[in-house]
Symmetry: C2
Subunit: 121 residues, 2 copies
């Protein structure tokens, strides 16, 4: 029952597109990530995925549209929906993710950026 | 796949200890609440509960200790652990909760403050 300081946890790593696990809530996990430029188009067939922007602006691309998600905003990507998280102008963005422990980093896609394990902070 | 602005959602209600549901992620829900003074001692036998402080300082009391949770910090209360969320000096605190759809507001306790349904925003 420790208090988790998000800024302090974020200060412990630098790599982009490398989620770090800070907590587990039942069968879900809280991840922190620093992201920059474009990720990988993918979907999660069986899991929803929540993104909360802690710093900067996330552009969540979908096949037919995109959503701009600013600091203090949340977006939930429903299961089965292809998405590609992106940032603009080479800016680093800090996000919190809330998702099942079973959710794979790049879903049904295997890519150079794919992580199969998340370090714990 | 709408973007949810936490400040805008919080501006839509005033009542204390009245969680409002802003999103569902699989079998869990995201709630926003404004809290002030002391809640009710209770526990959730089967569900963990995540609290994220968006504004102010939450004092999470446990039977043998307490944790101070400031803006930008998170605490996860494990299932089965008695807790009593509190604020100090009559200050209003804004929190985000992440918990199962089955989690009862005051767990195993029925109290005057107990809500059996959460309005959706």
């Amino acid at each position: 029952m420790q208090t988790l300081n998000l800024a302090e946890k974020l200060s412990q790593f630098k790599a982009h597109w490398s989620p770090h696990q800070i907590a587990i809530v039942d069968d879900m996990q809280v991840l922190l990530a620093k992201i920059k430029d474009e990720f990988v188009w993918h979907k999660h067939d069986d899991e929803d995925e929540l993104f909360q922007v802690l710093k900067g602006t996330l552009i969540m691309r979908f096949r037919e549209s995109e959503q701009i998600v600013k600091e203090g905003e949340i977006i939930v990507v429903p299961k089965g929906v292809e998405h590609c998280p992106t940032t603009k102008d080479g800016k680093e963005v800090h996000i919190l993710l809330f998702e099942k422990l079973t959710t794979k980093h790049t879903g049904d896609v295997q890519a150079e950026l794919t992580k199969t394990q998340y370090p714990k902070l």
